[in-house]
């Protein structure tokens, strides 16, 4: 009987190495059927181990290319593994394909492949050994598939490189936080490195989680001999490190590539030893695939992705214009947010679908951990499922109904839950009453198996204008709930609603709340005064040691720039007119100077007299080789910022008038050229609908029909994808496309453009804008 976590468990060694020894080359999984006796011999040679892993590493519907069905192979493999008369764990390796957006495989496809294995094996094995995963998202798909089909123990090991990261950039702390959250029984590291090189990863895993830790090193680093990779580390040295790991507190040990029965025999002496106890401080932490944020001190949660009172965001959500959301997210990250709240709740929206899609899109760009903000149980679950990491769920409250629907989701996906101190009777007045709701939330969470460090409490801010006396109750409640050992959050800017000079009240209230133990203000990070107050508090509370972060943020501080979110760049001061600003490409000042200019001139005068003139001059300098791409783009961005200001004063254009649809065609992922075109066209006042890269022709046709744009720009970089450009043009023509079709990209020229049926070939963004302008003037 395995006593995971109490007694050390020993795993078997490499299978591949043994297959080669026995002269078996080819699809390793097929030998379960074609050479079962040899497979049994290998398993029996590892009988000193406590757990035998089936010979099924490459067996899943996506990777397996052998002669038989997945089921046949799985059943035979389990039967053979049983011959060693030890516990048998079903071995699951990665699909070999990368998940979107890093590859082409969807989360659901990966999930189905693993679910198939679980379905076949759930009653036949003693557990699952998920190993050599390099992508945390794929590991999540696998763990969910196993958990949803079987009740057997799940051990998961990931592979790290010598810098201590997985291929997709996850650290040991991120891996531990995520896998522990998903409820695996043991987690650890295998493959890629030898025992010596693994030591720091092992240390970090042991410190990050109290889940039993697995170590399964290779037999040292491989060396190349006569064109073949060989492993040369000796048994004694391997054993020395395994002994060391056991002393450090590792609970499961084994061998990966290059190890043989000799190695497992040597380390089998650790089997049954008491696992060395270790004290792990439980921390409240959330993470994306590449960033972990511990809720310690004060962390800023950006509130701008919440459509309440935000017309533009509502529109963007309804139109599925997720680019707008990405821009908002990036702006908040740039301004210093640590976590981003995501709320997509508007009437008539398919909230679960949109939540999952928005999270997926956001995490392609922003590495900040996300907070799923919804009152729709299905949307919360969809978000938590497709999120690549450990999110915060916002929120539950003291109502039984709400707790009972949200806590199971939080438990299943390992999310941190934000609990609001209100219930069926509303928000209680006194701090004590709010504290007692908090206590109820914490206790109920614990009954669902959710520990305190996974709970945060929001003691709810009421407006000072309506409930002046209750402001101090909120703050006092913070102090009380901290005694429960949980972290706290507040939507601080509610306090000033209905009063003048709201910023002053918000900032003062934020300072009061931080002093009383507020950990996560939910606020607008673009408000430099608010993020500034958090930075200042970190200095005064001693959390920002030597004021390092503060100094870094304000080293270029000048009183005039006090209200801007980012420190003003030196070069910004050299531009005193809007024309200069655009010509020199100073984005920060362009909007401001444009506002000033609007006091004096009509919008169209500014467009023609200043912006277009400046852009023309920049274009000429670019064409004559006196100014280069980085400057061109800066100028375009500055002009774009000015156009955004002017756009608010101009009547809206008619349908499709001035709209350009851009796409990098199907099969092509190079979109830097298209992105340059986008910013240059926008700088000329065109609105651009960017369909992205790898865009199927159907999507371009759909955009044409839906928007009837003035022009469509297609980009392709490779000769192979020019074909897909041609097909896109054909598809557009077949629906009678009347928009001008522009093509561009490294391998195109006038001749090819004509051949594939485009209207215009333009060699760069400047020329694209020129031709467009000329066409517009003709209209």
């Amino acid at each position: 009987m395995l006593r995971l976590g109490e007694k050390v468990i020993v795993l078997d060694g490499a299978t591949g190495t043994q297959l080669e020894e026995k002269g078996l080359f080819g699809c390793p999984e097929d030998f379960n059927i074609t050479a079962p006796e040899k497979i049994r011999e290998i398993h029996r040679s590892y009988a000193a181990a406590d757990i035998i892993l089936t010979n099924t590493f490459g067996l899943n519907a996506i990777k397996y290319r052998g002669e038989f069905s997945v089921k046949e192979v799985a059943l035979k493999a389990i039967e053979s593994a049983r011959s060693a008369k030890k516990s048998v764990f079903f071995n699951i390796g990665p699909t070999g394909a990368m998940l979107k957006p890093l590859g082409a495989l969807s989360f659901d496809e990966a999930y189905s492949a693993f679910a198939e294995l679980a379905e076949i094996t759930k009653d036949l094995v003693d557990g699952y050994f998920v190993e050599t995963f390099s992508d945390l998202y794929e590991a999540k798909a696998c763990v969910l598939a196993l958990k949803e089909h079987s009740k057997k123990p799940i051990y998961v090991t990931m592979t790290f490189d010598s810098s201590g990261r997985t291929l997709t950039g996850s650290t040991p702390e991120i891996v531990a936080n995520t896998l522990e959250g998903l409820g695996v029984d043991a987690l650890g590291v295998n493959c890629s490195l030898g025992p010596k090189e693994m030591e720091s990863v092992v240390k970090r895993l042991l410190a990050a989680s109290d889940v039993p830790v697995i170590v399964e090193p290779n037999r040292g680093l491989p060396v190349l001999k006569n064109g073949k990779t060989v492993y040369e580390l000796g048994v004694d040295e391997f054993d020395f490190y395994i002994g060391k790991f056991v002393e450090m507190g590792v609970g499961v040990v084994g061998g990966c590539c290059g190890t043989t029965p000799e190695f497992i025999n040597a380390i089998s002496k650790y089997s049954g030893r008491e696992v060395v106890r270790r004290a792990v401080a439980k921390k409240t932490a959330v993470n994306s695939a590449t960033k972990l944020v511990g809720i310690e001190g004060v962390k800023i949660c950006g509130e701008r992705l919440n459509p309440t009172g935000k017309k533009k965001l509502k529109e963007a959500l309804l139109n599925e214009d997720y680019d707008y959301l990405i821009d908002e997210a990036v702006k908040q990250q740039e301004a210093g947010a640590d976590i981003l709240d995501v709320n997509v709740g508007i009437p008539k929206i398919d909230e679960p679908r949109v939540m999952a899609e928005v999270l997926r899109r956001l995490q392609e760009y922003v590495d900040l951990p996300l907070q799923i903000d919804s009152s729709d149980k299905e949307a919360i679950e969809a978000g938590a499922r497709y999120y690549n990491g450990i999110p915060i769920i916002n929120s539950v409250n003291g109502e039984e109904r709400v707790m009972n629907s949200v806590f199971p989701i939080a438990k299943k996906y390992g999310a941190v839950v934000l609990g609001l101190t209100m219930d069926d009777n509303g928000v209680p007045e006194t701090a004590e009453e709010r504290f007692s709701i908090a206590k109820r939330i914490v206790e109920r969470a614990e009954s669902y198996g959710i520990p305190r460090h996974k709970i945060m409490i929001d003691t709810l801010v009421l407006t000072a204008s309506a409930e002046q006396k209750l402001v101090k109750e909120t703050v006092e409640a913070l102090r009380l709930v901290k005694t429960l050992g949980v972290k706290t959050a507040l939507g601080v800017s509610n306090v000033s609603f209905g009063l003048p000079n709201r910023g002053l009240l918000n900032k003062t209230f934020l300072a009061m709340a931080m002093t009383c133990g507020l950990n996560m203000p939910i606020l607008n990070p673009l408000d430099g005064e608010m993020t500034g107050a958090v930075r200042a508090y970190a200095v005064l509370s001693g959390e920002d040691e030597n004021s390092e972060r503060y100094i870094e943020a304000y080293k270029d501080f000048t009183p005039a720039a006090a209200n801007s979110t980012a420190a003003t760049r030196r070069e910004d001061k050299s531009a005193s007119t809007l024309y200069d600003c655009v010509k020199k490409g100073i984005k920060g000042r362009a909007a401001e100077l444009c506002e000033e200019e609007l006091q004096r001139s009509e919008p169209m005068e500014i467009v023609d007299g200043v912006l277009i003139k400046a852009l023309d001059d920049v274009g000429k300098l670019y064409e004559s080789g006196k100014l280069f791409l980085p400057q061109l783009v800066s100028s375009a961005e500055a002009a774009k910022a000015a156009f955004e200001v002017i756009g608010k004063r101009l009547p809206k254009n008619g349908d499709g008038d001035g709209l350009v649809v851009l796409a990098t065609v199907k099969g092509d992922v190079h979109d830097i050229g298209k992105n340059i075109v986008k910013v240059v066209l926008e700088s000329h006042g065109y609105s651009v609908l960017d369909l992205g890269k790898d865009v199927p022709k159907e999507k371009v046709v759909e955009a044409y029909i839906g928007h009837k744009p003035f022009a469509i720009g297609l980009s392709a970089l490779m000769t192979t994808t020019v074909i897909s450009m041609e097909e896109t043009i054909k598809a557009l023509r077949s629906v009678g496309c009347s928009s001008k079709i522009f093509v561009g990209g490294a391998v195109l020229n006038e001749e090819t453009a004509r051949e594939i049926g485009a209207d215009y070939y333009t060699k760069d963004a400047i020329e694209f804008a020129k031709v467009l302008n000329a066409l517009k003037n003709k209209d």
Binding site: G96, A97, M98, L102, G103, A104, S134, D135, D161, S163, R165, L167, T168, G169, G227, T290, I326, D327, V330, K331, Q333, E334, E364, Y365, V366, D367, E571, G585, G625, F628, L629, P630, Q631, V633, S634, A636, E637, K666, G667, D668, V669, H670, I672, N675, I676, V679, D694, M718, T719, T720, T721, S724, A746, V747, N749
Partner: protein
């Protein structure tokens, strides 16, 4: 790594030709290189073949490999985080994303060159499917033989690699050869050549 000498390729990618970037852009280049150094996850996978794999038994590979004693196939990458950073910068700071992208390309070439020096002295340059009129889709044979998903590189249906900052190549063992523009489909319209430069950094010959 000494980055100062890849500055030339970077400026080349950014379209500077023989001109010098101004101080702002120079500062931005060093900033990007410092960040790259921190976040890149360079991986290089290769295999040596004593017998030429079948897909290389045609032109232009035969000429390229003529006189070689063995062939190395390789795939290398800067990893997923570099791609993600470029994507982020496209939204946060377009100018920086351009510069970062150019820096990453030059950086990858450099790391690959450095790695190849450890493989021996008597080697050709990396010949990539697509050069010299070869079929870019031959890249799939390299993937079949190397299985570079181990280092996180996969091939899309259109034979493009992900992460984007990845390369796949063919290296001849037993002779030396330097890159030229001969046979490049873009040779007649190449913007680099007009500037007296090449896309691979050295002067036009």
């Amino acid at each position: 790594m000494n980055c100062s000498d890849i500055g030339k390729s970077i400026c080349n990618y950014l379209g500077y030709g023989k001109a010098e970037p101004d101080e702002n852009v120079r500062r931005l280049i060093s900033e990007c290189l410092a960040e790259l150094e921190k976040i890149h996850g360079f991986k290089y996978q290769y295999k040596i073949f004593d017998r030429v794999p079948a897909f290389l038994e045609k032109e232009p590979y035969s000429s390229f490999l003529n006189g070689c004693s063995a062939v190395i196939l390789c795939v290398c990458t800067l990893g997923a985080e570099v791609d993600r950073k470029i994507k982020y910068l496209e939204r946060a700071d377009m100018r920086k994303s351009l510069v970062f992208d150019a820096c990453a390309s030059a950086y990858l070439e450099r790391l690959a060159d450095e790695f190849e020096m450890s493989l021996g002295k008597n080697l050709t340059y990396r010949f990539c499917p697509g050069y010299g009129g070869s079929d870019i889709s031959d890249i799939k044979y390299i993937f079949d033989l190397l299985k570079p998903e181990k280092i996180g590189v996969t091939l899309l249906g259109s034979n493009l690699m992900l992460p984007q900052k990845s390369m796949a190549g063919i290296i001849g063992v037993g002779k030396t050869a330097k890159k030229t523009c001969d046979g490049c489909i873009n040779a007649s319209s190449c913007a680099y050549r007009k500037e007296g430069a090449t896309c691979y950094g050295s002067e036009k010959k």
